[in-house]
Each structure stands twice: as structure tokens, then as C-alpha cells.
Amino acid sequence: MADFPLLKTRIRGKRIVYLDSTATSLKPQAVLDGMNRYNREYSANVFRGLYDISERATAEFEKAREKIAKFIGAATSREVIFVRNASEALNLVASTWGKENIKKNDVIITTIMEHHSNFVPWQQLAEEKEATLKVVGLQSGYKLDEVELLSAVKGAKLLALTHISNVLGTINPIQELIKKIRKINPDIVIVVDGAQSVPHIPVNVALLDCDFFAFSGHKMLGPTGIGVLWGKAKLLEQMRPYMYGGEMIERVTLEKSTFQEIPLKFEAGTPDIAGAIGLGYAVDCLRSIGMDNVRKYEENLTELALDKLSKLKNITMYGPGNASEKCGVVAFNVFGKSKKLIHPHDVAQILNEDNICVRSGHHCAMLLHNALKLAATTRASFYIYNTEEDIDALVLGLKKAIKILG
């Protein structure tokens, strides 16, 4: 098991029970060391200098890209574009492929379970282009309505779909869905938000057969400030740049500029070099555990959490009830006397007294909360460093919240 320094820190003399990995994960020592080494030993710019430390920075930066490409099953590391996070990756596609290809009256499909990052860019694009945005809803069991989805994609230009819901934990069967969708509409471009899947389950973009796939480094043991857009080379090559500046230029004259090949075409300016290198080490860490093992560990922990939480009398959980159908995320509400809702902010605040870190609010998924007629929920999420003791601490904390505010 990797070494996570944050787990050794103490607040009010007590350990931290970190249950918010869906928001961001903890960072292992190896990632911090890798980034530190860059900053201390060879913090030169990439693709610029001819001196040793710059060559080393370029080599490490590109090595990280290779590791990531291999980790997600990309055909080539040219398809791996470094961005700030999944949000930026999705915005990049909307602002380039989207603006060039979506025309008036075209149809864009998305779903009710999207994070705002994979909804608002498409909503704005549809508004700008006078295109139609269709939102696929849920069926029973907090699953995506497959019938509605398959009927909606007929004649649509683009589908933006999350791999895993960051609230419900629902794992969408993307691979099978895409197979069916391609038969119905071979021309549709499919954008997958993988922010919650790459950290937690094995992902292979070639098998998924999507066109674009976005994820963030900081949710998968890496640092903040670095994320990835993967895209099929054929599409990336046709697209115009997202931003202009250093690194992405081939030649500039007074009249005209030409641009680098992918991936550099999309990486204007000095990138987050330490971040990319850090993400490479995070990938090493996940590979050494094995993504099948990560999934198995989390599934067991989730099953335990669902079991222990469901024994609380005053709780309602939202999401598939079976750990095999969901990721390590449990969204819930607790109620006091005469079923009065204890506001998630109060729940989170009382849990914080015992250093239990959970999220409360709508988790950047207002559409989903509105559809479920909820103002807010409390969300606990798990990763490889969580244990049964953490779940027991959560249950005790919730009992305390019910006692104080119930």
C-alpha cells in the first residue's frame, strides 16, 4: 500500500477520516517526491533548451504522457493532451470540434446525471448555434434510461455522457451502449466524462470506442492542475487549436501562423510540467496495485458501507443499492424527528468535528438533484486508502448528528 502523508497528520489531536475522494484524492509520497525532484533537480522548461536539465524535463514530461496513454489503452501518446482538468478537456472539445461542427438545428444529447462540466459547455454551445439539446433521464434503480438514450441518438450529432455519476455512483455500461449507438448512428461523435472512472475502474479507450475521453489527475492520486483529454487522432488532427501561444507554434510570419502537430497543437504555453510528471507517478502507483484490485477493494468497501448505513433508521440513500453496479460513492440524507430533514450542511459540519471529511450540497449536479427533487445531499466516497474503520467512524458521526439535530 502506498504511503499517504496526509493520513498521518492530526487535527484537534485526531486522525483524518477522508471520505471525499470523489472531489479530490489524497496524494501518495511517490507523487510528491516525483514532483519535488523536478522542482529541485531539473526545473527547466520543456521543448526549449538544449542543456541537460531541459532535455531531462522534456523526457520526463513525455514519459508521463506515455505512461498515461498506456494506462488508458490509447493507441498512441499523441492522442493524450495535457489540460488542467476534465472540465477544461470538455470545454476544449466544445470550443473546437463543437464550434466547427455543430450547426443550427443539429441535435446534441446529454444526460440528467452529468456533472455541470459535461452539461453546461453543451448547453452554451447549443444556445450559441441554435442547436437542440436533449437530456436523457433515469430509469428505475438510478440507472440511465437506455431506451430513451438509444432513441435520442438517432440523427444526433454529438453525445456527451458520463462514465460514472459523481453522485449516484452509477456505472454506465459505456462499452455496450456505444456498440449499440454506433449501429443506430455511425456518425455520432461521443464524448465521455471519465473523471470518476479512470481513478476507480479499469478503462480502455480503444475498447470503449468513444471519440473523446476526459479526466482529471487530482482524482486519481495525482496533483491538482493537470488533467487529460484523450481523442481519436483522426479527429484531433482535423480540429483547430483551442488556444494560441508558445509551444503550439510551428512557424509565425506577419501574415500567417502554422501550428504544431498533435498533441502540442492543443498545449499552448508552458504546461504544468511538475503536474504532468506527478500524474505519471500516480499512474505508476495505480498500475502497481492493479486497477482490477482497486475496483475489487472499493466494491467490498462500498458493500460494507451500504450495509452499515442502511442499518441507520433515519437515512435515505440515493443510487444503485448493489455495490456491483456502482462506484465507491454513497449520497444520502438523514432525518430527525417526524422525518424532518437534517440539512446536509449541518451533517457535514458535525462530522467535521471528528475530522470526518464528506461533501454536502449538490456536488455540481444540480440537474440530477432537481430531477430527484432534492435541494442537497451528503456524499461519502471511498478510495484505496479507506478502511472499515472509516465507515464505522462515519456511522458513529451520523448517529451524533441525529442526536444533536434530530
Binding site: 430533514l341 449541518d346 459540519q349 449538490h362 435541494a375 439535530l405
Partner: protein, 126 residues
């Protein structure tokens, strides 16, 4: 510091001036879409002073306690004093310190009240 002290919990469980007025001069909706708190503040004014106030809404314990305490505090207050109410006045009423995130919950009632007074001025001027 324990923010769920007895007087906060008391106002949370038994909010004062909770409910609608029969003949309000002004009805003001306030909400905080980020956390889902929403409220309706109703007031009656006479001779430049607030003479009756009532609120309804849902939100966390801090919001509820802040709204309840505020409605007690502003009874009979002049409109000019109402407009001068500040963040510190609310924290003093609550008697606790709050993180920036929770501060939004505590300040929604006073913000809504001050908006209602603003609306009233416009109405008068119009």
C-alpha cells in the same frame, strides 16, 4: 468551537416569527442556489419603522437560527438602521464564528431583509 450550542439549537427547533403575515407591505424571496437554502421574508412598516416581520423557508440550522434571531432583533427598528445591519451584527447575535462557506447561510436572512427594504424604497419613490 461548538457552533451547535443550546441557544442556536433552540432557535433552530422553535424558530421565532416563523410564518406568513396577514397583510404584509412587502414580500421578498431570498435564496442561495448553491446550497439550496430559500426563504420568504415578509414585513409590515409604519412611520419608517418595521412593526411586524415573519419568515418561512428551509435551510440548515445556522440559517434557521440566524433568521429567527434576526426577526427578534429587528422588531421596531427604523428602516435606516435596518439598512446598516452588517455581518458582524449577525455574528454577534449568533455568538459564534463561522467559516466563509457557512457565513452565506447565516447572512441570507439579513440580505433578504435588506433587499425587501430596498424594494420598499423603490415602491415609495415610484
Amino acid at each position: 468551537m461548538d457552533i451547535y450550542r443550546e441557544n442556536i439549537l433552540d432557535h433552530y427547533r422553535n424558530p421565532r416569527n416563523y410564518g406568513k403575515l396577514i397583510k404584509p407591505d412587502i414580500t421578498q424571496i431570498g435564496d442561495n442556489p448553491l446550497c439550496g437554502d430559500s426563504m420568504v421574508m415578509e414585513i409590515r412598516v409604519s412611520k419608517g419603522k418595521l412593526v411586524e416581520i415573519g419568515f418561512t423557508g428551509k435551510g440548515c440550522a445556522i440559517f434557521m437560527a440566524a433568521a429567527s434571531m434576526l426577526t427578534e432583533h429587528v422588531q421596531g427598528m427604523s428602516l435606516s438602521s435596518l439598512r446598516k445591519l452588517s455581518k458582524d451584527d449577525i455574528l454577534e447575535l449568533l455568538g459564534i464564528t463561522l467559516s466563509p462557506t457557512r457565513l452565506k447561510c447565516a447572512l441570507l436572512p439579513v440580505k433578504t431583509l435588506q433587499q425587501s427594504v430596498g424594494v420598499m424604497d423603490v415602491k415609495k419613490g415610484g
